[in-house]
């Protein structure tokens, strides 16, 4: 049986891993390669790097990090942040990424999802959706690190990117991100039920129960978390053992 995946996420800027709350107030969490290796050893199923660098002149730093990571970490690596063109996708894949995640650029130019997945295959293309509740049972897609309300309905947008060729959706609840109050399970379930491609739940994990809930109640195919792993509260292995104890299929 296919295992549900646990994916530690590393927000990277200026060559360091950082973590904030609700997209602000960043704390330094260490060297990305060292951290990725540690998660691999703990049994992480994948690792995600999100390049949150604002300035384009620092953008190339992530390529070197990806290259170094691919030499030492033999699990799938997803990289996102600042991807605007098919060429950006190619450069990241050539550096050693297995999947590339796009967010703002996909909203501004949905053809990018189609063009990129046609060129490199759907399996490499992840569309990241930052969603915020605007009414009960209704979420809008936000861009630019959560500052812009696009007015797009999250469920409709998820269906659209799946139809355009996305291979996976990385779904982050803006309301929950960094709060440690757990995933937005209603949002996760609504998106997961609406599309036939895998959905990664993100935003809000504060304990291991939250991870299990993301799979069993949110019906996510994978769960992503950052701070609970970075600051040593839990290891990936503890998370997996907990999920297994709740009857969830995991790779131990």
């Amino acid at each position: 049986m296919l295992a549900k995946r646990i994916i530690p996420c590393l927000d990277v800027t200026a060559g360091r891993v950082v973590k904030g709350t609700n997209f602000v107030d960043l704390r330094d969490a260490g060297d990305p390669i060292e951290i990725a290796r540690r998660y691999d050893e703990q049994g992480a199923d994948e690792v995600t790097f999100l390049d949150i660098t604002a300035s384009s002149d620092q953008r190339d730093i992530i390529l070197h990090i990806v290259e170094a990571c691919a030499e030492q970490v033999f699990i799938p690596l997803t990289v996102g942040g600042g991807v605007r063109k098919v060429e950006d996708v190619r450069r990241l894949l050539n550096a050693g990424a297995d999947k590339v995640s796009m967010n703002t650029a996909a909203v501004q130019n949905p053809d990018l999802v189609f063009d990129a997945s046609s060129k490199v295959g759907s399996q490499c293309i992840v569309v990241a959706i930052d969603a915020k509740q605007v009414a009960p049972g209704k979420w809008h897609v936000f861009t630019h690190g959560g500052r812009n309300d696009t007015g797009l309905d999250t469920i409709e947008w998820a269906k659209k990117v799946a139809a355009l060729g996305a291979g996976e959706i990385l779904l982050t609840s803006m309301d929950r991100d960094g709060t440690k109050n757990g995933f937005d399970l209603a949002l996760t379930r609504a998106v997961s039920d609406a599309v036939k491609i895998p959905v990664i739940a993100s935003g809000g994990v504060g304990n291991l129960q939250h991870l299990a809930d993301g799979v069993s109640e949110g019906r996510a195919d994978a769960v992503l978390a950052a701070s609970i792993f970075h600051f040593g509260e839990y290891t990936v292995r503890q998370a997996k053992e907990y999920m297994a104890s709740r009857g969830i299929e995991v790779r131990l």
Partner: protein, 210 residues
């Protein structure tokens, strides 16, 4: 003597070459689009990523088809993902012929079978870590039966000679995810992304004397 990773412009070969370097000791790993280098190599790795029609077209366009078919006849040969699928006769994906090294076809996961034991809908692509039930083969040495490997695909080989099957995975349907005959071993999953067990499989390939 070297291990040649065949480069026909489809996808990221860095992961494959770095994983091989990790286990190959002093044997050099070369990523190459040169048929002469492929012919001179001690063993050959044939990866593949993306859509099979694109892979076949690029293989032809770069003049590598004959070198690949020849290598599959006479030296240790490892196909990975679409590199496995291309060894078969044809693919439903784009209705394109493959290299025809093995009989059998590549088909999409059947939509009506994509339900798991708990009645939940299975997503396509089949993405993530799934168990592989092994059939006896030298390349499984040191890897426990039903170990998990990393898969990413929407198509798989079907209607093949059962004697070819060296590994079976279950995703809605049971499907062959590893094949072997003589000097050829080919897998649907990605050993280069499958952590310790994947590296062990690559190490077994590097040391394989079929």
């Amino acid at each position: 003597m070297s291990i040649a990773v065949i480069d026909y412009g489809m996808g990221n070969l860095r992961s494959v070459s770095k994983a091989l370097e990790h286990v190959s000791g002093s044997t050099p790993v070369v990523v190459t689009a040169d048929p002469a280098v492929v012919a001179a190599a001690e063993r050959v790795v044939f990866p593949g990523q993306g859509a099979m029609p694109d892979c076949m077209r690029e293989l032809e366009a770069r003049g590598l088809r004959a070198a690949v078919v020849q290598a599959a006849k006479d030296k240790p040969f490892l196909g990975i993902c679409v590199g496995e699928q291309m060894l078969f006769e044809c693919s439903e994906e784009g209705d394109v012929p493959g290299l025809g090294v093995f009989s059998g076809v590549v088909k999409r996961f059947p939509d009506d079978k994509m339900i798991d034991a708990r009645g939940e809908r299975l997503k396509v692509p089949h993405m993530g870590w799934n168990e592989v039930a092994q059939r006896p083969h030298a390349l499984w040495a040191g890897i426990a039966d039903r170990s998990r490997f990393y898969f990413v695909h929407s198509y798989c080989v079907q209607h093949i000679d059962p004697a070819l099957t060296t590994g079976v995975c279950d995703y809605g349907i049971p499907f062959t995810c590893a094949v072997g005959r003589d000097n050829i071993f080919a897998v649907q999953f990605h050993p280069e992304k499958s952590a310790r067990d994947g590296l062990q499989l690559l190490k077994n390939f590097v040391e394989w004397r079929p």
